[in-house]
């Protein structure tokens, strides 16, 4: 693999990605390209295979066939921690925080992958480990401030309000220094006010040079922030384009509302 293309335009390329569970085809031959620095949305009815697609990208599942190329590198079949190291971070549809760790520690776990301390350093609290811990604590606080929950730094994650938990999950993901951030239904269960704030937050994330790939049900959010949309139904890609194009697409309307008689 020496023909490494110079910084590719596409941060993520999925080629003919298929994931089967026994007889069920959860993701069926999906190809898509995500450009550096855009907000790309994945929508579709429940059970369309959106989260499965995320899991295939982040290494939680091994795709049955097809390729995942991230930042010019083939990462098909990589382990989750390898994917995270390469620079893909994610949040989960049903929030998966470390419940009985403080918010600060949650974010510091996110920083783990960018830390260098060895077991030996930690065991004997060597000066370089101390310095790194101090630095990482500062950085973690910075991430908490970025998402606006710094004042809860020392609370257990499970004691946060729902919306704050979603924010904390984003902060934890950002702490891994990702190039690509996958958000799995970040606005689920949000009030309209919270949705507006979330959209602002996504813009801010974009401002840091991070590409955002999100799954979302709420059309206002999707149409409001994403530049391009792919629609999945029964594991198949049925439409791709700008929000306006997708909104008018017949197959999309059918998938959501059923065929008109």
């Amino acid at each position: 693999m020496s023909e490494q293309p110079a910084p590719a335009d596409n941060i993520l390329e999925l080629t003919d990605l298929t994931k089967r569970f026994g007889g069920l085809v959860a993701v069926d031959n999906v190809s898509l390209n995500i450009k550096r620095g855009e907000v790309f949305a994945l929508i579709g009815p429940n059970g369309a295979g959106k989260t499965t697609l995320f899991n295939n990208v982040t290494g939680l599942f091994q795709p049955t066939s097809g390729r995942v190329v991230f930042d010019g590198r083939d990462i098909t079949g990589s382990k989750p921690h390898q994917v995270a190291r390469r620079g893909i971070a994610r949040t989960f549809q049903n929030i998966r925080l470390f419940d009985y760790m403080t918010c600060l520690d949650n974010v510091r776990v996110g920083r783990h992958v960018r830390m260098k301390a060895t077991v030996f350093d930690s065991l004997f609290k060597l000066p370089r480990e101390r310095r790194e811990e101090e630095r990482v604590t500062e950085e973690a606080m910075e991430f908490l401030r970025f998402v606006g929950i710094a004042k809860h730094a020392d609370q257990y994650a499970r004691n946060l309000a729902y919306g704050q938990q979603r924010r904390l999950e984003i902060a934890r993901a950002l702490a891994t220094d990702p190039k690509l951030l996958l958000l799995d239904e970040p606005a689920a269960g949000f009030t309209p006010q919270e949705k507006v704030e979330l959209m602002k937050l996504v813009k801010k994330i974009l401002g840091r040079g991070i590409t955002v790939f999100l799954i979302e049900h709420d059309m206002k959010v999707v149409m409001g922030i994403s530049e391009r949309i792919v629609v999945l139904d029964h594991g198949e890609k049925i439409a791709e384009g700008s929000p306006d194009e997708v909104r008018k697409d017949v197959r999309v309307i059918e998938a959501y509302l059923g065929k008109s008689a």
Binding site: R85, F98, V109, A117
Partner: protein, 354 residues
């Protein structure tokens, strides 16, 4: 409101404060105990016992890394204890973590009899000494050597001091780990393995590290044990040792080092004092209330036979009374509290539904 105040900011300080108190008490006890017991009993038998208890404290601190921090189960823990003891025994004299491994290692030592003496055990192990360059030129037997060669041989207090130092070192090292990158990674895996992996933690190597570090403490304790009793036999490392140490950790309060130390001491007392001493106590009790010598004997025999049942009963009672452990970590306490609240809510819902 009250819950949020409880969990806010002072959480850490409160844990530190409680730990500081426990450690201070333990330190004072450790200092006073040898003097008091030698003064009271005019002998060092109790100090030797305390040293044995200290070995278990060291074992429990190590296992706490595996069970309490990383949330893993290690049933072959005594194997490393055995390996440590035999390593010391073999080198100092003339050395996967499954239930299977825990069983294999003692069997191996049983059967490798040309080296380990089989069931006859390795005896006459040399006692540790300090190297001459530490002791200085003034030690020894020559004319200018005014101090006796320092030797642990035959002095239980020396071993007692050594185990106290080892425990103190272990506490510091394990605490350092707990408050490090690795400690957080263990906690994260315990809380949610999938999320931990998605955050870039290599769950396999991190878990192996927990096993490895736990095992190294176990091995260390084993080496100390070998040096201390200067006789290692496979019987000292049976499966029951793994279980006992595990119970020490759970009983003391998983994940909380000071709790685990207390748990180890309490359970050591129960297993090696209370239970073996029971028949004798029952006998004297029966005697003093004037039962016939026949009934006295049968009662004592019955307690003897029911040893393990009584032990089990004590464990069950302790788990019922304090499921979170004697001195639980705050996390564990909260987990159980929330679980209880959820159960109650579920029960209430069920009632409404019917």
């Amino acid at each position: 409101m009250s819950t949020s105040v409880f969990t806010r900011l002072h959480l850490r300080d409160r844990i530190r404060d409680r730990d500081t108190a426990v450690y201070s008490i333990l330190l004072i006890l450790a200092l006073v105990f040898p003097m008091a017991s030698i003064y009271a009993t005019d002998g060092t038998a109790l100090v030797s016992q305390a040293t044995r208890a200290g070995t278990f404290v060291l074992l429990a601190i190590g296992l706490n890394v595996v069970v309490g921090f990383a949330g893993l189960l290690d049933l072959g823990y005594a194997a490393f204890y055995a390996i440590g003891a035999y390593s010391y025994a073999l080198f100092a004299s003339t050395q996967l973590v499954t239930l299977g491994f825990g069983e294999i290692v003692p069997q191996l030592f049983y059967n490798f009899d040309q080296w380990t003496g089989g069931i006859n055990a390795v005896g006459g192990i040399d006692q540790p000494t300090l190297p001459a360059w530490i002791q200085g030129p003034w030690s020894g037997d020559g004319p200018f050597q005014v101090v006796r060669n320092f030797n642990f041989g035959g002095d239980p207090v020396a071993f007692y001091v050594l185990i106290c130092i080892l425990i103190a070192a272990a506490i510091i090292l394990v605490n350092n780990l707990y408050r490090s990158r690795l400690g957080r990674a263990w906690m994260a895996i315990r809380e949610d393995e999938v999320a931990a992996a998605a955050m870039g933690i290599n769950t396999v190597t991190t878990k192996l590290l927990a096993f490895g570090i736990g095992a190294s403490f176990s091995g260390f304790a084993g080496a100390f044990y070998g040096a201390n009793v200067s006789l290692v036999s496979p019987d000292s490392f049976l499966f029951i040792v793994s279980i006992t140490v595990l119970v020490m950790v759970v009983l003391g309060g998983m994940g909380n080092i000071s709790g685990v130390i207390i748990g180890a001491l309490v359970l050591y007392y129960v297993v090696y004092y209370l239970i073996p001493g029971l028949p004798e106590n029952v006998r004297s009790l029966a005697n003093s209330i004037g039962l016939s010598s026949e009934t006295t004997r049968s009662l004592a025999d019955a307690t003897q036979h029911l040893n393990y049942i009584i032990y089990g009963g004590i464990l069950v009672a302790m788990m019922l009374l304090r499921p979170q452990g004697l001195l639980p970590s705050r996390v564990r306490e909260q987990e159980l509290k929330h679980a209880a609240v959820q159960e109650e809510e579920a029960a209430v819902e069920m009632e409404h539904a019917t």
